[in-house]
């Protein structure tokens, strides 16, 4: 890497840190309106969504985007606003009666092609979309965001086996997992042992990248196309449920967060400082 390239990469990484911070700030504001919501998911996955929606990865209106854990809608909304696909002011309606920006995404949800409020179903839908891409002879890429907790559902592994076996009949399929070690009853590791996650997916015939999910450069590198290998790709993005923010009390339930005024002020101050 030349000095100039290194400087560009450093600049780009700094840009993405700002984008992710703005998304986290949007998420805090969305959740603050009602005082509760799926904030942890937005904090853990901010770099993942920033990479997909601002990193030149997902070609909106062309590629397919599947959001399997529909509770991550808050991250989608924040990213869509950053990408100019959603009016920033509409974010204020998050989770309110009558909004289309529902806390758990539905068929009314904008921007995503497929969402699953009932977890574990998104990968199958993504495989179906990828089969259709191949049948139509199109060059669309199918992206799917999954969570680690939903890998407790057997359907994920049914889909994993099918995708690997039928790789020659599918368009390009790329999965990003937000491995934030969080589910309703606590850390995933305390509920069920999913590890070794990377080895499991390799054993199922997938290409695997195991990366720091808060490192945009690593995420972008992992998603770079390898034209010689069209087999399905999974990027295991290791993240922290609170996005490594200092302001979070360690005891807080990460799946569904109650946000009091004090915590909101602390989070906002930390994020605004990062953006200053």
């Amino acid at each position: 890497m030349s000095g100039r390239d290194r400087d560009d990469a450093t600049d780009r990484a700094a840009d993405f840190r700002r984008i992710a911070s703005r998304m986290r700030l949007s998420a805090v504001r969305m959740v603050a309106i009602q005082g509760f919501g799926y904030l942890g998911q937005a904090l853990s996955s901010a770099e993942i969504f920033a990479t997909l929606f601002r990193g030149g990865v997902l070609r909106h209106g062309h590629d397919r985007f599947v959001l399997s854990p529909a509770h991550y809608a808050i991250a989608l909304y924040a990213a869509a606003a950053e990408a100019g696909l959603l009016d920033e002011q509409e974010l204020d309606t998050y989770g309110r009666d009558g909004t289309r920006l529902e806390a758990i995404a539905t068929e009314r949800t904008p921007v995503a092609d497929l969402v699953c409020g009932s977890l574990g179903q998104g990968l199958s839908g993504a495989v179906g979309l990828a089969l259709a891409v191949h049948l139509a002879g199109e060059d669309r890429v199918t992206y799917a965001v999954l969570s680690d907790g939903e890998m407790e559902e057997g359907q994920i592994w049914e889909a994993a086996m099918f995708a690997s076996h039928h790789r020659a009949r599918m368009g390009t399929l790329r999965v990003i997992v937000d491995a934030n070690d969080s589910q309703v009853d606590g850390p995933v590791t305390s509920v069920t042992t999913l590890e070794p996650l990377a080895d499991k997916w390799r054993a199922f015939g997938w290409r695997v990248a195991d990366v720091d999910g808060h490192d945009v450069t690593a995420l972008l590198d992992a998603l770079v196309d390898d034209p010689d290998d069209r087999g399905p790709l999974i990027v295991i993005a290791r993240t922290h449920i609170f996005g490594r923010m200092r302001a979070f009390p360690r005891a807080t339930d990460g799946h569904f967060i109650k946000l009091d005024a004090e915590l909101e002020r602390a989070l906002t101050a930390e994020l605004e400082a990062a953006l200053a």
């Binding site: 699953c116 199958s124 993504a126 495989v127 179906g128 990828a130 089969l131 139509a136």
Partner: protein, 335 residues
């Protein structure tokens, strides 16, 4: 109407699906390790690029069907009725029914038509599918209806559940019979009836045979064929029952949640005050056995329809006996 034993034809569904797909490039065919059993070996061999075998993985099967349909395909999903409905109910609800996708679920071996015991007998598939918003539920009675159903459900936007007898399909209706997804049909009947028999699918032969027996007792009988359990043609059913002294529903399914329930709901809401009797599996799991044995043992015979009408009409003398139709190889007769 033809008379039993009815001649049969093989694989009318499989042939109709290939014929449809040859004219409709958006049609794709999915299965789950039951290719020959669901007559889709014909599709696999004719149009292999549009055939996908998901293996024994029904949850993923339904999810992929949703994805393909979302991209514009008309997706026929083929497996046994039990695996198609019970095993992946949430997937059907969320990946197919809620988004109103063009997924046509085809479930074989309805009710007690399978010798395979409770694991293979879909006695609740109509109830399950009927409970889902946006779902159309079709229970055809003969080979001509099966053939016509394939194009008809492809033309109907949104999700459909089609339950199909496996193997030989009887030819019951005359040449000019036309399946109408929006209408129930009066097969037998005049202005007024003593008993109105409302039947679907594999209970049509028993309803027709029971009608002949009751007519021989100087009773006037109406027989309605209801190939579409949802949305129910309430108007035709209410009109026929209003002009009858009592009504019998007959279905190769549990009496809970299927045709009998649907008809009871419709008549109650319309305020039709006639006695109703439901012929079907009486809220129990069955066992392994031949169709003849199971239909007789679990209350799906011609005699059960006769008895239901007889008791509903409160006739005191013993009910007449159903004729015994001797089995003819390759032919189909009601039990």
């Amino acid at each position: 109407m033809r008379e039993p034993p009815y001649r049969t034809v093989l694989k009318p569904y499989g042939e109709a699906l290939v014929a449809l797909a040859r004219t409709r490039p958006e049609v794709v065919c999915l299965g789950a390790d039951l290719t020959r059993q669901t007559e889709t070996d014909l599709f696999r061999d004719a149009l292999p690029e549009r055939f996908f075998n998901a293996g024994m993985a029904e949850a993923n099967l339904i999810g992929m069907a949703g994805g393909l349909a979302r991209a514009g395909h008309v997706v026929f999903v083929n497996t046994f009725g039990v695996f198609c409905t019970r095993r992946c109910y949430d997937q059907i609800a969320m990946s197919v029914a809620y988004p109103e996708l063009d997924v046509k679920l085809v479930g074989f071996m309805p009710g007690l038509s399978s010798p395979g015991g409770p694991s293979h007998q879909a006695i609740d598939d109509v109830a399950l599918m009927r409970a889902l918003p946006n779902m159309t539920v079709v229970d055809p009675a003969d080979a001509a209806e099966v053939t016509q159903a394939v194009a008809a459900i492809a033309d109907r936007p949104g999700p459909v559940y089609l339950r199909l007898k496996r193997g030989e399909q009887p030819v019951i209706f005359p040449e000019n019979h036309r399946l109408d997804l929006d209408r129930a049909q009066v097969l037998i009947g005049g202005e007024r009836a003593d008993a109105c028999l409302v039947a679907a699918g594999m209970m049509i032969p028993a309803a027709l045979a029971a009608a002949r027996v009751l007519e021989a007792q100087d009773l006037a009988v109406t027989v309605l064929n209801v190939p579409v359990v949802k949305p129910l043609d309430t108007a035709t059913i209410v009109d026929a029952v209003r002009h009858s002294r009592m009504v019998v529903t007959a279905e190769n399914h549990s009496i809970v949640g299927g045709l009998g329930s649907a008809v009871a709901e419709a008549l109650s809401e319309a305020g039709v005050p006639v006695p109703l009797r439901r012929v079907g599996v009486r809220d129990r799991f069955a066992e392994s056995g031949s169709r003849e044995y199971l239909f007789a043992r679990y209350g799906l015979g011609t005699q059960d329809v006769i008895d239901a009408a007889w008791h509903g009409l409160a006739i005191e003398r013993a009910p007449p006996r159903a004729p015994v139709v001797p089995p003819v190889p390759g032919a189909y007769a009601p039990v």
